[in-house]
Each structure stands twice: as C-alpha cells, then as structure tokens.
Amino acid sequence: MHMADALLSPAVGATMWAGSMAAIGYSCKKLKENIDNKTIPLMGIMGAFIFAAQMINFTIPGTGSSGHIGGGMILTVILGPYAAFLAIASVLMVQALFFADGGLLALGCNIWNMGIFPCFIAYPLIYKLIAGDGKNARRISIAAIVSVLIALQLGAFSVVLETLLSGKSELPFGTFVLLMQPIHLAIGLVEGIITAGIISYVKKVRPEILQASNTLRPLDAGISIKNVLVVLVILAVITGGALSWFASTHPDGLEWSIEKVTGKGELEEATQGIAPALKDIQEKTAFLPDYGFKPAVKEEPKENEAPAWPGIEAGTSVAGIVGGAIVLMFILFIGFGIRLFKK
C-alpha cells in the first residue's frame, strides 16, 4: 500500500509531508509530557521488531499465496498511540531509505496513510471502544480485527485520493476505489486475525506487558474521542484547503511557473477534452474540477479526445528524442569516464 514518489505531484507530497511532520511534532510533544524513560528505547526496538516481522512471510489461508503484516495496530495496542505513531513513522522512513518502498517524497503520504489511521482513529475510536478494559479476550480479538480492517480501508482510500489529486495516473476514481478497497478488505481481515492472535498470545504469556500499556501509560487514557475528532477535523480542513488552493491556482504544483517560462501549459486540454455533457457531472462529482477526474462513465467515444490533444507538436518530440538520447549517452559516458579514471 506504499504510495510512490512517481505518482505524486509536489503539492500533494508537500501537503502530506507537512501534515505528517506536524503529527510527529505533536506526538513528540505529547509523549514528552509524561514520558517514562523506558519509552524511547522501547519505541525504537519495537519499530525494529515490526520491521523484522514484516519480513517473515506466511501462507494466506485459502489462497496459497504468501503475505506479510503491517503491524501498526499491534504497536498501537502495546505502546499507545503517540509512541506507536512515531515508531511506525520511523519504520516507514527506514523502508523508504533502505528498500525504496515508496520513496522519500511519498513518505509523508505513507506516514499519514499507515500511521494516522491506526493510531489516532482506529485505536481510540474503535479498538478502545470494543475492547473496553482489556479483560475480555473475545472482545479484544474482535476489537483488533475490526480496527485493523477500518484502519486499512481508510489508508487505502487515502492512497486513492492522493493518487488522483496528484493527477499522474489516469485511473478513474471509481475504478481505483473498486480496485483498492476490496483488496485491502482481504488484507485487513488477514492482518486483523493475526493482530488478534498476537495480542492474545502476549496476553496469555506475559499479561503484564499489556497491562502496563493499559494502565501505566496514561497516553491511552489521555486521548479523548473529542480531541481526536477535533484534531481530525482541523487537519482535514487544513489539508483540503491547502490542496484545493494548490490545485486551483497551480494546475500541477510548480507547473504554473513552467507555463510562464516555457509557454507550454499542458493541462487545459484535459478539461476541454471531456464532452460538455460529462462536464456537468464531473463538476458535481469531482471536488477539484480543475483536475478533471475522469469519470468512470465511458459512453463517450474515445476519439473525441484525440484531437483535443495538441500538447506536443511533431517537431518538438523528435527533438526531444534526439536530445534525450544524446543526454543519456553523455551521462553514461561521464559515469564510465570517472570509473576508468579512478582505476
């Protein structure tokens, strides 16, 4: 479910970075308020644990294919939302750097999608609600499964939104949602069952670990549902506001400035290309009309779009190919040159 740099526009990337960084800062501040000195090493090492656990594969029942876990919910249940959020953010960062999972720019999105939802939404709003005081094993299992499911659904939906807002992919909103949500329903079910299994195992073998996280750390108790909702609403407003500002004034983030410099704007035609009849629907359904989410409705024959594509004239593209080839050869040449020179 990792978002990738290449699918992102700078605007979306930057906004999500800002949002995630703010959440990290806020969590650090909250954690500092009543920190137990043990927490710092514990967070780091738990992060490493999740990282290692994600690398073990298992056979998904009924399918024969193999999967691995995300582990966000386990961390949250053990460490409490703030510490867990930081640990998840760290894991994602290590993955971005060492495995290039997603990438650095998409890191903001990934932290948001896989950290915020389990820690600050699914945990306080769902897990805590269902699990109650954490004494009833059955309730804990149900809580784990449901909360993981919901966190993953939200995360997947968020990926869809980010991708579409970035406008690099042509996938229509509806199709994309239909692709992502059911897949993550299945993933979430498996992950939820695993999470429940691990929590109940820990509860059986070392109950004091779970108790510690239930009672000793006031962090869990400290999160009130009201606060969560307020923060969420604020964040949503800020994010939405920032995104729509970017999207409306700057067709593709920095692109507006290119238009000025090079004079080749490229996006107007996207809106023109869609038949006027559809334009109406589109303006009603898409919240960022400028971006022209291509509606899933496809009665419109494709040929209509073709002439509306004046983007690159023939001469330019040939020059591009020739120039590109030369540039690449030049770069390769430099690479080999330095290598030879060094030997």
């Binding site: 990738a4 740099d5 699918l7 990337g13 960084m21 990290i24 650090c28 000195n37 710092i40 514990l42 967070m43 780091g44 992060g47 490493a48 644990f49 990282f51 290692a52 656990a53 690398m55 594969n57 930081l86 640990a87 953010a89 760290s90 750097l97 060492f98 495995f99 999972d101 650095l104 720019l105 992919s169 042509e170 996938l171 199709t175 498996v190 695993i194 299994g197 691990i198 195992y201 820990v202 593709d252 920095l254 400035s257 290119i258 410099v261 090079t262 494709k302 594509w309 690159i312 023939a314 593209s317 040939v318 020059a319 591009g320 020739v322 120039g323 590109g324 030369i326 430099i334 060094k342």
Partner: protein, 269 residues
C-alpha cells in the same frame, strides 16, 4: 525475496554507507536537502514530460560513480520495488488514448507518454533515495534531521530502530530458518505458526528492550539522549549544494534537451 536475501540486501546497502569517498564525506544535511530538492524538482514535471527529465540522471550517476556504489545493485533494487508504480501507471495507456505525433507516420498514445514519464520519475526518485543512505549512512541522515529541527525524541528512537534492526533481523532469520527447515515445503508456513513466531519474537523483543534499558541506566541515562556535535558545514558542502541547486534550476526551467536535439537535427539536415 527470501528473508535471508532481504537481510543481506539491507546489510549490503548499510555497508556501502561506511565507505570513505568525497560523496560520503559531504555533510549529511547538505545531502539530505539536496536530495529533497531533487525529488521535488523531478516530480514537478508534467505528467507527459519525458525528454526534459533525462538530464536529471546525471545526479544519481555522479553520486554512484564518485561514491563507488555498484550500479547493478541500485538498479536491481529499483526494479524490485517497481511493481506498485507500474501497476498504477499501466492504466494510463489504457485509459488515456489521446494520440501524439512523434514524427510523420509514428504516433503513440498520450497514455504511453505519461506511463513512461512515471517510470522515469520512479527510477530517478527511487535511486536518489537509495543513494542518499548509501552515501550518508542512516545515522548520518538522522543527525541531519536532528540538526534541521526534527524533535530529538523522534531522532533518538530512530537511531535505536536502526541499531536494532540488524540484531532483530538476525534473530528473526534464525527462527525463520528453523521453521523452514522442519516445514518440508509449504506445510509449516501457515498463519497460526506465523502468529506464534511473531508472538515469541515480540516477547523476546520486549525483554531485550528491558535489558537495553538496564544497560543505558548503568551508564547514567536519565531521559535525554546525549548527542555529539559532529558535523560542521564546510565550503565543500556549500559548493556542492549550490551547484546541484543551479543544475536543478537550469534543467527544470530550460528545455535543454529539446534545444540540444534541435541543434543536432539542424546540423544533420
């Protein structure tokens, strides 16, 4: 990839970071900022752009050669993580069928253009991110983050994460080996055993965290991780950062590839 392969892979990348070349010696802050700038510049190109992206390969290429990072290693990693981008991108040619003339007789659909653009951006961003750790080391990146104002609590636990990834992965690798050895095929890999293994790992991790905490206490830990001021910005770092910035600016706003192409065409016709 099997567990072993993943483990060795990350270990290798980590080893590279401890080389001693010009690139490795640059200040981590400079490299981090430059990398972020680079990424922003690359993704800021329009979705149909291809030619103008190509000059940007110069930056990873230089890092790789001067930093003595094996090309094939980075290349393989890039290929390995590509599926998601390819999966999403491949819909472009199917859905965006506007035609683009290349030259007379040859047209391709705009979707293909944007698909290739995604692939190029993907290669550029992923390889640069990998090269950042490969030439800076993870602790280096962490220290840079701290100096750039990321809360030290976050950075401290990030450093713990880095330190114990290798320890825990090795431990996990042993358990996975033990499982696989007595599994005789797929039988032993079902989900219940997975849950058990993760459960055991979890408990051992908590116990380990406890021991580590003891070790920290025994050396006077009182809640704040001490940090050494290790990096001083040198002229070399500033020159590096500025020249990359100029490079990025130039190729971002000046269609150099097109112009070069036109020029060459002109010479030949």
């Amino acid at each position: 990839m099997t567990f072993d392969e993943k483990y060795y892979n990350i270990g290798f990348l980590d080893q590279l970071a401890y080389k001693n070349t010009f690139v490795h010696r640059l200040d981590p802050r400079a490299k981090l900022i430059v990398t972020l700038l680079f990424l922003f510049t690359v993704v800021s190109f329009s979705k149909y752009e291809i030619a103008a992206l190509l000059p940007f390969f110069l930056y990873p290429m230089l890092l790789m050669t001067i930093g003595e990072i094996p090309f094939m290693f980075i290349f393989k990693k890039v290929v390995f993580v590509s599926p998601f981008a390819v999966f999403i991108g491949i819909f472009n040619p199917l859905l965006d069928s506007g035609q683009v003339f290349i030259f007379s007789g040859l047209t391709i659909s705009a979707g293909w253009l944007s698909f290739f653009s995604i692939l190029i951006k993907f290669t550029l961003t992923v390889s640069t991110a990998l090269l950042l750790v490969a030439t800076t080391s993870f602790p280096g990146v962490c220290h840079a983050l701290r100096q750039l104002g990321v809360p030290s609590l976050f950075v401290s636990q990030l450093l713990f994460l880095y330190r114990y990834i290798f320890v825990l992965m090795e431990e996990t690798m042993c358990i996975v080996r033990a499982r696989n050895m007595r599994s005789y095929g797929e039988r032993g890999k079902d989900i219940r055993i997975f849950v058990r293994i993760v459960g055991i790992l979890f408990i051992r991790t908590v116990e380990r965290a406890e021991r580590i905490y003891y070790a920290m206490l025994s050396r006077g830990f009182q809640g704040d991780m001490p940090s050494l001021k290790r990096f001083h910005i040198k002229t070399g770092d500033i020159v590096f950062a500025l020249s990359v910035a100029v490079f990025l600016y130039f190729f971002r706003f000046y269609p150099a590839t097109q112009i070069l192409g036109r020029f060459v065409q002109g010479v030949f016709s």
